[in-house]
């Protein structure tokens, strides 16, 4: 009997357990390890603060989505010993493997910024990347009567890079609906050169910021938070005052990767961006937010990576060359408020452009343009996620490689 171990039962790990279970030869046993018991529909976190989703809608038991033939261990991973091909668990047990798939994801690390996780944390400083943060922020927003609302990104890379901007758009609509928009001073503070950084997106979407009266503070690399003064400071001496700070803290990979001694500065696993084999050892693969590949950290990316990783694990087992199959494809709905959304589709080499999706010239979805249909797509995606994406089903008409047809390149 040979052993394949998957570390992490989030979007990528759960999906891979389903993919691999169907395709691995009969003499292989699959084990999946995660310390949690609950699977979160993470795109839903964005909607919880505004009361659009209830927490119950976006949480289900992990066990429901793991094939019953796969061994599911609910325990924390201590570390990976790559030299002896062994995973050590927190209870002292060890698991030998022939092939390892790392899908340990990433998480917020507010303690990385001085003062961020201090007395103001979850009082007037919130994240919306955890169920706890999103739920507490909902309470805060319900009682909020006005003031300086700062939507903020600490540093890149982050999970779902457009989510903070979506949050700002939804907050504008939320305060307008509550009749207090004129009492709210809404800012977007980013370490990047602007709210949009790609030429086409900037050209097509800059109007949104003016229309929604969102003040952008670019090039802000946060150094510390002063909880008493209620200000954030950056390394160049800039400061921004807040009454309510909605931050995206530094994102980091799993501590188990750090303990294993092969992660980068942010605990991401060095990984070949086209084959998804790690640079750690030939029998270790990685997928999703856990890798250091220069793609977006997003569920759609994990989904598109999934088919490539499946083929390459099988290739590796059969001694065949790996396929350089992953092109960095990502596909994301971007909420713009008031029942509208944008859709973006891009990869390592092509920035988001206008066009039609998934059928060239037809749509029905429009790329890089606001529409109600796109918003309906985003809302329908919750069903697709629970019923197709994490169970490893192919989503019709959407191949894992990005299509050039239907897109308006110059």
């Amino acid at each position: 009997m040979k052993n394949l171990i998957i570390l992490g039962a989030g979007t990528a790990g759960t999906m891979m357990s389903n993919h691999l279970h169907k395709r691995l030869p009969a003499d292989w046993k699959i084990t999946i390890v995660d310390q949690r018991t609950e699977h979160y529909y993470q795109p839903g976190f964005l909607f919880v603060p505004f009361g659009i989703y209830e927490p119950e809608e976006i949480v289900k038991p992990i066990s429901k989505f793991i094939p019953k033939e796969v061994d599911w261990l609910q325990i924390e991973v201590d570390r990976i010993d790559k030299d002896t091909d062994t995973v050590y668990l927190k209870n002292g047990d060890s698991l030998p493997y022939d092939v390892l798939v790392i899908a340990t994801g990433n998480d917020i690390a507010p303690e990385e910024i001085e003062g961020m996780s201090g007395e103001g944390w979850h009082k007037d400083i919130f994240d919306f990347y955890t169920l706890e943060g999103a739920t507490k922020l909902h309470q805060k927003l319900k009682d909020f009567e006005g003031g300086k609302v700062v939507v903020h990104i600490c540093e890149m890379p982050i999970k779902c890079p457009v989510a903070p901007l979506e949050f700002a758009f939804l907050a504008d609509a939320y305060f307008e609906n509550r009749g207090i928009r004129d009492k709210v001073d809404l800012s977007f503070v980013t370490p990047m050169s602007g709210a949009f950084t790609k030429p086409k997106a900037t050209e097509k979407l800059d109007y949104l910021l003016k229309e929604k009266n969102i003040n952008v503070v670019p090039d802000f690399n946060i150094e510390r938070v002063d909880n008493n003064e209620k200000k954030i400071y950056d390394y160049a001496g800039q400061e921004v005052a807040y009454d309510l700070l909605i931050t995206t803290p530094t994102n980091m990979g799993s501590k188990a990767i750090e303990r294993s001694g092969f992660g980068d500065e942010l605990n991401y696993v060095p990984t070949n961006k086209a084959t998804l084999q790690t640079k750690v050892k030939d029998n270790i693969f990685a997928i999703g937010d856990a890798t250091n590949v220069p793609a977006s950290k997003a569920g759609s990316v994990a989904h598109f990576e999934g088919e490539v990783l499946l083929e390459n694990v099988l290739n590796y087992i059969e001694g065949k060359p790996l396929k350089e199959g992953f092109d960095g494809h990502a596909n994301c709905f971007v909420e713009t408020g008031h029942g509208k959304a944008l859709l973006i589709d891009f990869n390592y080499t092509h920035e988001p452009v206008t066009g039609t999706f998934p059928f060239p010239g037809v749509g029905p979805l429009r790329l890089l343009k606001e529409s109600r249909m796109n918003h309906m797509g985003k809302m329908a995606f919750k069903w697709i996620y629970w019923n197709m994406l994490i169970t490893g089903k192919h989503i019709p008409f959407i191949p894992n490689k990005m299509q050039l047809a239907g897109k308006n390149f110059d």
Partner: protein, 102 residues
Amino acid sequence: MEKIIANQSINVNDEGYLTNHSQWNREIGHAIAQEEGIEMTDHHWKVVDYLQEQHKNDVPLTIRRVGKSGVVDIKGFYELFPKGPLKTSSKIAGIPKPASCI
């Protein structure tokens, strides 16, 4: 578009970042630095070398990564390249501006 930098015709984008890194050499870097008001020292060049090495290996660059590189800390990075240190140093190094997905 093409721009004459250090008497060489170089492909750059609207913001002056090189679009073809193979056209880069130290004279180009030096000339871009002068346009940005920066007088290059050995320390500046060490940072540029580090950025280019990371870029070659497809490693996405962040201020923190540079700060932990051992080449320069974050405060020092701001002293060498005031205002937007990562943007300015990337431009001098002939690599793309750090960008998000849209």
